[in-house]
Amino acid sequence: MRIEADLGKCDGLGMCEAMAPDFFEVGDEGTVVVLDERPGEDHRQDLAAAVDACPVLALKLRD
């Protein structure tokens, strides 16, 4: 599983960090930093919640 963050869309609102803080953090510049781009399958539920929670639809999960 791979996390794709579209930094052109990202507005740094941080909902991904709220849902899955081990994988996302908003940086001081106000865009997301993906902490681990290839997470294990057992994190799928939290990551899907992060994707859904993004107010600008900047995140995708790819298998």
């Binding site: 609102l13 909902m15 709220a18 908003v26 859904d52 107010p55």
Partner: protein, 384 residues
């Protein structure tokens, strides 16, 4: 089996998407009062108003995706007229649509002042954007978040703008007086004239008339004076509507009472176990998304229903500054520390507001969700 969702904005969209994701294969009907596919509202008072903003309001999903991929029957431009919880029917356009499960997500309607524009719908945004393009003199009534964002858009174009606010401190109900007063300072720095404790007696040709007799000249008047739950169609149907604003009163699972009936988003008053059961009606993007998805799951499988404990979150962009708030402002003590304001209830941190601290805000949200002690939030603020 028929799943009916009334309200075709974010909460309603998330409800139908969530229904399909849970594996539900039955009929879905999505009813919307506006003649638009579901679209995103926060940008309407932000990027949409910019000189180089998008000229059109794009829907979240195309009609083809909604109809063909999600299998949703769309009834748009048609407000629901009645709910019969005994017969389990929603009336719309003179037709009764039977339901087995129902999500009420009709949202809120902007309070409007005669002669003034609100900013709630796509049409409102197009009109305000066009007025800004013409280089209009603008007066904003109400120094809340929407009004402040409109003022910000005007200043970004170098246009003069005045905000008229009835309260002595803006945003006191949303963020408390300490933070409200601090945020007012952003208007002054940006050159927006802010008239506090000012009473508007009317909007007439050419301007806004104040109780003092003064008339503030304006080509466009925007009223950002709040929104009320769109529940006129539910009066007398047996649901409990809130005594103050007529929102739908729900339990913490979003159940509205009658079998199969749930509510989500701006329309719903929900007791929040995270804050001592404080009843909350939130007009926030994240709340609509989360409740919409949960209400669908619960309506389709009531046995799976569980109490939600959301941490409210909203953001606003003024003059290039990012304002973010998490939690509740109903606190025993409020402490301002630089660009951060913290809210204490008992020995817990229950709220945090930051200005231009995008890296920090979710650290507070996590602590609020975990019922973390006040001392921990203060220590983080000191170290951050």
């Amino acid at each position: 089996m028929t799943f009916v969702v009334v309200g075709a904005s974010l909460a309603g969209l998330r409800a139908v998407e969530s229904a399909r994701r849970t594996g539900y294969r039955g009929r879905i009907v999505l009813i919307g009062a506006e003649d638009h596919l579901p679209y995103d509202r926060p940008p309407l008072s932000k990027a949409f108003l910019d000189v180089d903003g998008p000229g059109e309001v794009e829907p979240f999903r195309s009609e083809a995706v909604l109809r063909d991929e999600l299998g949703v029957e769309l009834i748009l431009g048609a407000p629901a007229e009645n709910l019969d919880t005994a017969a389990r029917e929603v009336a719309v356009g003179g037709t009764a649509i039977p339901y087995d499960a129902l999500v009420i997500a009709t949202g809120a309607t902007a309070r409007r002042l005669p002669g003034a524009r609100a900013l709630r719908t796509a049409e409102d945004a197009v009109a305000v954007r066009a007025a800004l393009d013409r280089g209009t003199r603008i007066v904003v009534i109400g120094a809340g978040f929407i009004g402040s964002e409109v003022a910000s858009a005007a200043r970004k174009r170098g246009l003069p703008v005045t905000i008229v606010e009835a309260s002595p401190v803006p945003l006191a109900r949303a963020v408390g007086e300490v933070a409200g007063a601090a945020l007012a300072g952003l208007h002054h720095v940006a050159g927006t004239e802010l008239r506090l404790a000012a009473e508007v007696t009317g909007v007439a040709d050419g301007g806004v008339r104040l109780a003092t007799g003064e008339v503030l000249p304006a080509d466009l008047v925007v009223a950002g004076i709040g929104a009320l739950p769109a529940t006129g169609w539910l009066e007398g149907c047996g649901l409990t509507l809130h005594e103050r604003d007529r929102g739908v009163v729900c339990d913490a699972t979003l159940a509205a009472g009658p079998p199969g009936v749930y509510a989500a988003g701006d329309v719903a008053h929900v007791a929040n176990p995270l804050f001592d059961g404080e009843p909350m009606r939130l007009e926030h993007w994240t709340n609509a998304a989360e409740q919409g998805a949960a209400a669908a799951r619960h309506a389709l499988d009531p046995a799976s229903a569980r109490a939600l404990e959301p941490v409210p979150y909203f953001w606003s962009d003024w003059y290039g500054h990012r304002i973010q708030f998490v939690g509740t402002q109903h606190a025993d003590e409020v402490v301002a520390q630089g660009a951060t304001t913290l809210y204490r209830r008992g020995d817990r941190v229950v709220g945090a507001l930051t200005v231009d601290r995008p890296r920090e805000i979710m650290k507070y949200r996590r602590r609020i969700a975990a019922r973390a002690p006040w001392s921990e939030a203060l220590a983080f603020a000191g170290a951050a």
